[in-house]
Symmetry: C2
Subunit: 311 residues, 2 copies
Amino acid sequence: MTGDASLTATGAGGAPEAVRPLFGTLALVGIGLIGSSIARAVRRFGLADRIVIADTDAHARAAARRLDLGDQIVATAAEAAAVADCVVLCTPLGTFEAVAQEMAPALRPGTIVTDVGSVKDCVVRDVAPHLPPGVHLVPGHPLAGTEHSGPEAGFAELFLGRWAILTPPEDTDPAAVAQVEALWRGMGSMVRHLSTEHHDKVLAITSHLPHLIAYTIVGTATQLGDDLREEVIQYSATGFRDFTRIAASDPIMWRDVFLKNRDAVLEIIQRFGEDLTELQKAIRRGEADKLEDLFTRTRAIRRGIIDAKQA
Amino acid sequence: MTGDASLTATGAGGAPEAVRPLFGTLALVGIGLIGSSIARAVRRFGLADRIVIADTDAHARAAARRLDLGDQIVATAAEAAAVADCVVLCTPLGTFEAVAQEMAPALRPGTIVTDVGSVKDCVVRDVAPHLPPGVHLVPGHPLAGTEHSGPEAGFAELFLGRWAILTPPEDTDPAAVAQVEALWRGMGSMVRHLSTEHHDKVLAITSHLPHLIAYTIVGTATQLGDDLREEVIQYSATGFRDFTRIAASDPIMWRDVFLKNRDAVLEIIQRFGEDLTELQKAIRRGEADKLEDLFTRTRAIRRGIIDAKQA
């Protein structure tokens, strides 16, 4: 199952080195939390001569101008693609196919198209068929984010010390892959390569299921009677409070994640549901040893994450 | 369902006022995260003349001595109870009945017995029948904690600005209730009264279910093949990482919480399971609007928690 996961570790993480500009013009399509963080980091670390930002939303464009996030702000991906040496798709996954179709006639040979989507197999499926020959697709995914959305929420340090996973198809031009790697390393990330399929399975567990569960449990609470709901908010304490933070993440982005990574997500929900049923039975039957055993095992995983410096 | 919840808000939170000693001798039975935090706070804010600590575990007693958490460190609850004006039970819920039986012959009339357990109905059930006449039971629960355990993990500020919920039976001596209120206010908490039943329902949602879910999902991950598990740890990202923190909480304490609040926990698991099945169906069928609608509603709850200053 993980034979395809022989990883190429590159990049050292920590503070980014000084790098000469990697690109003439970098285009960011979509200027939300991630797009605006890339804009800030690319400026801060001098990774491109020029930044062009495209967003179909007039409020987002106005914010990008106010925050001075780019050198040129345009409404369509096609306008940005026409002048770009590298395009980074930072819109929700559900838009990728239409954006690729729209950009295609404008893209010049040699241009790199990459993205930051949380599912990777669908990027190859939805984007690759529309790109003209000579344009290089290097799908990518920074494992970084917050529960906040929009251009104001971004910050240049978002990717510092975090993983960026690239999932280039095997026949991708190595020079294009190296450029995208250098972009992420330049923003302070550590870079690894995975297959799209493997990426989507790992993320279904580490990110998509936790978000789905958080949305569910907070949703369960919204359906309580008014008085009880008020008290749930009042006494959110540790536990529920963390779930509400996760469940405050961008609704459109997450809708698309679940629809695009459907099979892997449904499989892991299935496993999770079976495990929850087991615990439910143990509680019903008063099986103290079974509960204690599981709760002790889960501590070890936390220890692993602390050791991996991802806590 | 919430008619019994007419709350008596007392205490202002924030920095505790200077209070004269409330108790001659305060006994802490169990010196883990919560017990040791109380010990530190009571000392810091001068809430008792003398602190006696009882713990059956020799390592915990040694740590309590090393950390100078109390004036006297003993092995049994009975020894502590014999000299106490107020006893605070800080052991796992599963020990309460035995501890109450053990303390009973030693308790003097007028002594207050309170606790910090996460379930309250069982305290009345397990402790009250064993207490001699004239001893006052005031069940309590500070909504505060961390994922760390043991005497070293405590700190005096743990309760600052957090809720302490008291669930005294209706015929409890008002002066005893006022003393326990003053203890929590003195440590910086805000105090509210709830019925035991209502407390246990609210906490089943805000705390017990989130912990159970976190234990389940991290448990699901521990059962993955070795390679995939390593990657789940490596790429824990946002989401899973938060769950592992919750799932690193004390195993014995949580085992007892689920066993002691069985009915309320099973009811809320049932509701959660139904809601998860709905989401699962929506993903399977590609119902984008349904997903977006839920994900948008859950944001509002987060806003409520931020407004309630519990974020």
